[in-house]
């Protein structure tokens, strides 16, 4: 791997993730608007939002950790994007693997949690408490899915998994149960309805975001783009054979993100304990059945 290649990957991968993520955000908002028979935002709306937030004249900080929290949240995702293999850019991603990646994905959450913590706003802390509880809930099925995939593809490296699928069949065909369970977990991971108790705008004033203004909020918006991108590409790599080219990968990733968005508005919001209960019941059961088939 040449130096130029490394640099280009380091720069390009987060950039692509950002752009694709913006489109995913747009798609998400469009889907929800269409489901509610609205027109929805204009095409560049996600960019407008982010530019506006970064362009705010004044903004408040509750202290150094508040700032660092946002840095960690954005930076952690940037690191994670580099570890996520995409067509043509797999050099650095090889150094990690699925376990490393899934732990990488916790860094932004931790960063955000720290930042929110210093805001000294209990709404934020409650939000974090709920978000972490939700993480505990959706990570169990997710981790079984990851285990099943790694066991089935005989590799913990995402590149190895993609190679396997491209040589044989897609994971969703060979392990349908795990794929469904994974989708379930994805819903929780993206924090979409019915699993968005930690935002609960009317109750705890958007929880973690309560004290975020200007570029702080902007950072979280950027994080959201990364989050959607990561979810889409990760799931596509695990079950949809990844992508041989971008043309192949992007539709899959968009499709993956579109599914939770489409279901989201059919549901009310679950309480924390109900959220845990449902995520520990159905997807775990499905995942275990799926695991039983492949072991």
């Amino acid at each position: 791997m040449s130096f130029v290649e490394i640099i280009s990957e380091l720069v390009l991968m987060p950039l692509i993730a950002f752009v694709v993520g913006l489109m995913m955000v747009l798609m998400m908002r469009k889907i929800s608007a269409r489901l509610q028979r609205r027109i929805g935002p204009p095409f560049f709306q996600p960019i407008y939002d982010i530019v506006k937030l970064y362009g705010k004249d004044t903004q408040v900080s509750h202290g150094l950790i508040h700032d660092i929290g946002i840095v960690m949240a954005v930076g952690g995702y940037i690191g994670a994007e580099i570890l996520l293999p995409v067509p043509g850019m797999e050099g650095i991603a090889d150094k990690g693997g699925i376990i490393t990646l899934s732990y990488f994905l916790m860094i932004p959450s931790l960063g955000m949690a720290l930042g929110v913590g210093q805001c000294a706003n209990p709404n934020g802390s409650i939000g974090i408490s709920r978000a972490l509880t939700a993480m505990l809930a959706y990570d169990i099925p997710f981790i079984i899915v990851v285990f099943g995939a790694a066991w089935h593809y005989e590799s913990t490296s995402l590149i190895g998994m993609i190679e396997y699928q491209q040589a044989n069949a897609w994971g969703i065909i060979e392990m349908p149960f795990l794929a469904i369970a994974g989708l379930f977990a994805l819903q929780g991971m993206l924090g979409k309805q019915p699993f968005e108790i930690y935002i609960a705008p009317a109750e705890i004033a958007t929880g973690p975001m309560v004290e975020m203004s200007g570029k702080y909020m902007g950072g979280l918006f950027v994080m959201q783009t990364f989050q959607l991108y990561t979810a889409g590409v990760l799931y596509a790599s695990l079950f949809l054979g990844g992508g041989e080219s971008w043309l192949d990968l992007l539709p899959k990733a968009f499709l993956v993100v579109a599914i939770p968005m489409s279901i989201a508005f059919l549901f009310p919001r679950y309480k924390t304990e109900d959220l845990i209960r449902i995520l520990w019941k159905w997807p775990v059961m499905l995942a275990l059945i799926g695991l039983a088939f492949i072991l």
Binding site: Q36, R38, M212
Partner: protein
Amino acid sequence: MMKKELKIKSNKTNQQKQKRTNPLANVFDDFIDFCQSKSLFMLHYCTGCGAIELPPAMTSRFDMERLGIQPMVTPRQADILLVTGYVSVKTLKRVILTYEQMQAPKYVIGICSCTVNGGMYWQSYATAKKLNEYMPVDVYIAGCMPRPEAVLEGLNRLKNNIKNDRKEQKGSAWKDYYKNYDYYLGNQQNLFGKEWQTPVDVIAEAKLYGLEGEGTYGENTKKLKMVQHPLLPQEMKL
């Protein structure tokens, strides 16, 4: 009288912004203004009946989101403060705190006649009649209550103001709060008494962002100094 003076002062401040000579910077500023006009997060302070007209404006019939406007829940995130209806003295304290906690550029829209002149509560002892005595209001939408079309019209007017801020000097009413803080504070003190203060230190904010004007300091701020418990940010100590 007072109002006219204010207008003049605010015009001055807008002229300062045009002093930038770098054309790229101008383009950049224009772009940000454009984005600001295209993306507005709104905090609706639903005090009265006018609030009932907002749901139709947001949902499928009129769909505010196509204009780039969406509701937000905390003042930190919001750009627009919608005050929808009469403001009692007790409520006004909260409205002012909420306004001060919003981050600039921030806009205030007064909906319904009550915010304009007290409306049907004109004779009430407990309501604040004119909202713009206590904070700079960008747009008033009169009516009892205004239809969603009117609300959208008002929002569109605000968007245009913001977009053309630098040309027409309309969208920067928020700066007025800093530059004429003494005036607003005086009105607030008249209503709430001498002990009145919020946890937000407006003067320090104005100092930090260079938004001080001639009217920032005055007799009323001096009075405030007498009673204020200054809340300095906690610094890290090694």
